[in-house]
């Protein structure tokens, strides 16, 4: 592969994202697509999936998968919602929610690293188990969250005119990028996923690293749950259904290898935003659901057709 082509391929998600934006700008720019508000919309609705996929990037980079993010999302939302209804202050309640996610992440991580169960199965089992718990604790009823501070901070609020959901996702993208690229932890994650045995030989505690990535993923899913409930002012047991595949798709679209060792948070962010933009644009174009699905599916394939031949 020539190196100039290599450049385009490495950055393919950005080029393609740009192409998608330009296409919609030309075709439906005058139908409301090209407004600040609409871009805010796109960024807001993809905030949760973005945040979950940042952490998923770490999990995948370390050579594992986390399918439990969707039900953890709901668990955290419900924990927080019930705590607020139970009279706790919103920040205490939010901490409970985050802790619940951290705990599930810890459990996933321990099962994967100590007992050695493949993460696909651990987290698939956990996905069901936690969804069962989500249903049980609320008898599938929605839990209203009557706390305006919480709802503004995690949901519909704004800061300096920018929706708080966007602030959350941009902030975490930056943090995630810095951690992955510029810290020892990030480097160890990549080494672990690149070749676990070699990383072990180099004195990296790869089990510990994997454990941390699962905890990170649990935490991010929990935060996404809080954002969902803040945005909808309600927590529901079915939050985050199907989120796992969408998040993994964003990660891989962004150029992270499903086999570990190679990752980009900014790429993931672009991947998530691109999916969000496509969904938004197709709705504005007035396509019906079946047409949306056909086109969106086709675009995903096209988008990565530009990408490099995988080394595996």
């Amino acid at each position: 592969m020539g190196s100039s082509l290599g450049f385009i391929q490495d950055y393919s998600v950005y080029f393609f994202f740009a192409a998608v934006l330009i296409f919609f700008a030309v075709t439906i720019g005058d139908q409301g697509f090209l407004t600040v508000n609409n871009f805010f919309n796109i960024a807001r609705t993809t905030a949760m999936i973005s945040i979950v996929s940042f952490a998923m990037t770490f999990v995948i980079a370390s050579g594992e998968l986390d399918l439990s993010v969707g039900s953890v999302c709901a668990l955290s939302a419900l924990t927080c919602g019930l705590a607020i209804q139970g009279g706790y202050d919103w920040y205490v309640a939010a901490s409970f929610g985050l802790l619940s996610g951290l705990a599930i992440g810890l459990a996933n991580g321990l099962l994967v690293t100590k007992i050695g169960i493949p993460s696909f199965l651990v987290t698939l089992g956990m996905m069901q188990l936690i969804r069962g718990v989500d249903m049980r604790v609320t008898y599938t009823n929605p839990v209203a969250i009557p706390d305006p501070t919480f709802n503004s901070l995690f949901g519909a609020g704004k800061l300096f005119g920018i929706p708080s959901l966007i602030i959350w996702s941009v902030l975490l993208a930056v943090v995630g990028h810095v951690v992955l690229r510029y810290t020892t932890f990030g480097r160890r994650v990549l080494a672990t996923g690149g070749n676990r045995l070699s990383a072990d030989y180099s004195g990296i505690n790869t089990s510990r690293i994997k454990l941390y990535t699962f905890m990170l993923s649990g935490l991010a899913a929990a935060l996404a749950g809080l954002l969902y409930s803040g945005m909808m002012q309600t927590a529901r047991y079915n939050f985050g259904e199907g989120m796992e595949l969408a998040a993994i798709a964003a990660v891989i679209l962004g150029g992270t290898s499903l086999f570990g060792g190679k990752a980009s948070i900014i790429g993931t962010f672009a991947g998530a935003l691109m999916i969000g933009t496509i969904n938004n644009g197709l709705i504005i174009m007035g396509l019906d659901v079946s047409e949306q699905m056909m086109v969106a599916g086709g675009i995903i394939i096209l988008a990565v057709a530009f990408a490099r031949k995988p080394s595996h």
Partner: protein, 510 residues
């Protein structure tokens, strides 16, 4: 700390994997500032002993003391703290990271306690590589490197740890003479600085050139520890293998002339930047050696003939027809033993038997169904013939010693009876006994009419086997010379660097 104690003492070390005992009451002592050779046939237990020292394996019994202080080694970090570093035979590199990131992995220069300083890392990496005589960009991805380059990076990685005890497990296996010399210079410098070195190698000459003492292992036991000065090669080989078989490894003229129509014609082959303009022929039954520096493009030429690379210009003809792709090459009777056994030669998690069957499925089947019984006869014969040390053909290739893995890769190709066999560094890590066996095999094949293209960085090996030599320099075949016209290894060594060998009777370039 006093100087009376040896820098390292390993006592009564025992280790078994499952029911198989690999180390039996091994004692090993390393003196301060010595270069200590650790020798033994493939599967003798050398790597296992040293991996215990770096915390990769835990021993079943025994004690280890560094400078008289007993230490416990649970993981690689304990070893690092004790000042022990190792160049691993099977590499400890992360393919998805860059050269610089690999060299300083897990001891990166920091900015603050959390953040990495990649710029400092690259500077450090570059300076270590420069010491090694390599002008390699630290930002190159390791997965893009050739086996030889990876070896240099592995060496740089161990050197970067500034250890007191440095273990080198076959560091020169994929290096050519030139790199080897640079490495030796560095080893001497380290030695002068008081660093103690365990040096594992199957190359006899290196041992005598470099080492102060030698310890020989056989079947998991220590057979001898002696100063090098007291030993001769035949003695050493006999202690290692139990019998002298080094005689096979000397050249003898097969007294054959190859005229007539060549099997392979390479014309004006160009694959920039390394290969500029290469032309040569290979005749049926001829053993052609290809010599060149590391990175001179030998592998690229071999892969082009095997149909895996498309040349930028020029052509490769087999039976007068251009090679279109790998399938065509294979169908025309070309086989290739690739240079990196772990990446290209083996499915490490699969059994010895299934690895040996992989390129021969058509032979061991009726087109649809595979016959394992047919295969196991042939495979057991080869295992016996090459002395492949494995508890059973069902053992996973991953669990075999390095040299034994390499023997699998070679023997699986021999089953095919190819018309042209390309061997790219075929004897990396193979012990001297097996090397003789492989040499004999190559000659036998050639006698039966198979053409051989042998690539080796070990000039001794090239000289022992070839009928004719091609010398590659700066992208061109600078010399095409009969083996019998080369009088010394020294001569060849210079030729590879671009100084032509004076020829009595020059062969006309085809």
């Amino acid at each position: 700390m006093s100087d009376e104690h040896p820098i390292l003492e390993m006592r009564d070390i025992e280790k078994s994997f499952g029911a198989i005992s690999v180390l039996k009451k091994v004692d090993f002592t390393l003196q301060r500032g010595e270069v200590h050779a650790l020798m033994g046939g493939n599967g003798a237990g050398k790597s296992t002993l040293m991996k215990i020292l770096t915390g990769v394996y835990s021993m079943d019994a025994g004690t280890i003391a560094v400078e008289g202080q007993p230490i416990r080694l649970h993981d690689a970090n304990d070893a690092k703290r004790a000042g022990i570093a190792m160049i691993y035979q099977e590499f400890s590199l992360i393919p998805t990271l860059t050269v610089g990131q690999n060299i300083l992995l897990n001891h990166e220069p920091r900015a603050g306690s959390l953040f990495l300083n990649d710029r400092a890392a690259n500077r450090l990496a570059r300076s270590i590589l420069e010491d090694l005589g390599e002008d390699l960009n630290p930002n190159t991805l390791v997965s893009d490197l050739s086996a030889g380059m990876m070896q240099m990076v592995e060496i740089a990685k161990a050197l970067s740890q500034k250890a007191k005890i440095l273990v080198m497990d076959e560091p020169t296996a994929s290096l050519s003479e030139h790199e080897t010399e640079t490495l030796f210079k560095i080893i001497r410098k380290l030695k002068a600085a008081g660093i103690s070195i365990v040096y594992i190698s199957h190359r006899m000459a290196e041992i005598f050139e470099l080492c102060d003492r030698v310890t020989v292992m056989r079947d998991g036991q220590i057979r001898m520890t002696e100063p090098c000065a007291n030993l001769t090669i035949p003695q050493l080989v006999e202690t290692m293998l139990g019998a002298s078989s080094a005689s096979e490894f000397t050249w003898h003229d097969r007294h054959k002339e190859f005229h007539g129509e060549p099997l392979v014609k390479v014309r004006g082959l160009a694959m920039p930047p390394r290969v500029v303009d290469v032309s040569f022929d290979i005749h049926p039954g001829e053993i052609v050696g290809l010599a060149g520096l590391m990175g001179s493009g030998r592998t690229e030429i071999a892969e082009a003939i095997f149909g895996r690379r498309t040349p930028a210009a020029g052509e490769i003809l087999i039976d007068g027809k251009p090679v279109s792709d790998q399938k065509h090459a294979i169908d025309s009777g070309i086989a290739m033993v690739p240079e990196d056994r772990r990446r290209m030669g083996l499915v490490l998690d699969h059994s010895v038997q299934s690895n040996m069957m992989a390129p021969n499925l058509d032979r061991f089947s009726n087109g649809i169904f595979v016959s394992d019984t047919n295969a196991s006869g042939v495979i057991e014969r080869l295992i016996g013939r090459f002395g492949i040390k494995t508890s059973s053909p069902a053992k996973a290739a991953r669990l075999l010693s390095g040299g034994n893995q390499q023997k699998i890769v070679i023997s699986k190709w021999l089953i095919r009876n190819p018309r042209l066999l390309i061997l790219d560094e075929p004897t990396i890590g193979v012990d001297i006994g097996a090397k003789g066996e492989i040499t004999a095999q190559i000659r036998e094949l050639a006698d039966a009419g198979t053409a051989i293209l042998l690539i080796s960085s070990e000039l001794e090996e090239l000289l022992a086997v070839s009928d004719r030599m091609l010398i590659l320099h700066e992208g061109r075949i600078v010399q095409n010379i009969q083996r019998r016209d080369i009088t010394s290894e020294e001569e060849l060594h210079h030729a590879v660097q671009g100084h032509l060998i004076a020829q009595a009777d020059p062969v006309h370039a085809a």
